[in-house]
Amino acid sequence: MLDYSTSDVVLETRDLTKHYGGVHALEGANFKIHQGEHVAIMGDNGAGKSTFVRQITAVEQRTRGDIILHGEPTHFDGPIKAREAGIETVFQNLALADDLDVPSNLFLGREKVKFKLGPFSILDNKAMRDATMAGLEKTGVKIPNILNSIQNMSGGQRQCVAIARTAAFHSKLTIMDEPTAALGVQETAQVENIIRTLKEQNEPVILISHNMRQVFDLMDRIVVFRRGRICANIKVDETLKPEDVVAYITGAKTGAEYPEAG
């Protein structure tokens, strides 16, 4: 059993709520993720999954509630601040510049410089290449030549580069929004391997996915959203059946046995 009682909570939300005018997209979400834990977020379209993630990553500002990162309440005024604090997001639509090579993409917006001179600071290409190699090694991503531009790479390799960012920057929490939705079978396997590597390295991950097999293979816990609320918080083990999870997603079953997520 995982010990959920102690202070290794990476991120916690309390009563996290988001209203768009009269639409209650997210209502009173209490959620915790611990160091090294891999949590899946599932739910139907419009159930509040993406709204939940958008509040954590500060893409939107919450209506009320608390977001606590490593015991510190946070108020990020934008996604860049959240990223600086260590919350890395891998988006479904890849946030990569196609014409640039791998190190440039990894360090986009936070380049290492040798000599500071405002916008004309001289780049430290060697340091960025070395850090890229280290980051790729950590995630186990194999890319033949990191100095090729991203556009010549497969979708899987591109997604791997996006995920490798998190390793290169020692992020505290990695959030992946359907990272394999647009990928083929082999490429999906490649991305899943990276997620396993992150698990071995005790890195916490939140994964939004519709893929039941993927979630059962890779995740420790499933948090189900329905109609803007967290309706179930289920530990993945041998006794859990996909039908049970589907029942929660569709609302056939409600999660009385897990009143609070985490």
């Binding site: 988006f91 990569l96 510049a97 014409d99 640039l100 991503v141 556009q151 490649q190």
Partner: protein
Amino acid sequence: MSKLSHGIGGLTFDDKKKARAPEWNILFALALIIAIFEGLGALLMGQSLLFDSADRFDGIFNVARLKIIILQVSIIGIIALGATQVIILGGIDLSPGSIVGATAMVAMSFAQVAEISGMANPKLMFDGVSDLPVIVPILVGITCGVLAGGINGVLIAYTKIPPFIATLGMMVFARGVAKWWSKGQPISFPTDSYAALGSGMTPVYIFIALAVLFHFILNYTVYGKHTYAIGSNEQASRMSGIKVEQHKVLVYTIAGVLAALAAIVLSSKNLTAQAGMGVMYELDAIAMTVIGGVSLAGGRGSILGTVLGALIFGVIISGFTFLRLDAYYQEMVKGVIIVGAVVLDQYRQKRNSARM
């Protein structure tokens, strides 16, 4: 690389298929165009375009023509250095030609002499403003470039109007300024030190120095990296924390300054400034960049490519003069080459996306 052993699946990536640097293709195109003119020259004129065919000069090359080829593209080439950065950024700038006109007028009016061989300068713009040190008109000119380019950048970055429209407005506006400044009168008779800026081969040296400077800046600084990144994927750049708006203002401002420098060199070379100076220069500059392999879709291209594009331009103009063909044909061929270069770029892009 071999220690990265986790790679799985049937992913193959043929390193040998790595594309050649596109600059090689442009160099090849340059060589091809020279070869065509050499062939036509031998056939029709009985002499060579670039080489010393009749021992008229004491060298391998026809040095006089080589100098002319470079000299005639160097001033528009300076503008093209700015156009390169704007187009890599994913934008377009139609205003440099008019900025040249306006800046030439304004800068020249601070570079005039009071007397010409004992007579008062008949074109003197401002009484008492004469015989100033050369740095004054240079700084005044650069200020014009900063203003015009900065306004372009602010309009594009913060009001979100398309670059085409914003710079079209500046194109018309700056031309108006050029005509209004002296009520249409030419401004002439600069100081010797101002006149030196555009004399002889100085424009070529200025062009080369600026090309080397911006080659370095685009390849080795954060500014260059962000320019390519925004042109490649503006949304991703913004999500990555790049200050996209500020950067756009900076790039358009630099393009404006380069147009102003071209204006200073041009008015110095001509020893006069006229309101009609620089008309259509922006299109020639854009043509040089496009021929030089800069993608109109943004994200791709280089200063080196643009310099080669400028040389191709120069060779074509000189080649037509050399073959004693009418200037009309020159323009027609220029038009064909510009469209051809863009078609080639589209084809390249399609091939790249098909490979994914």
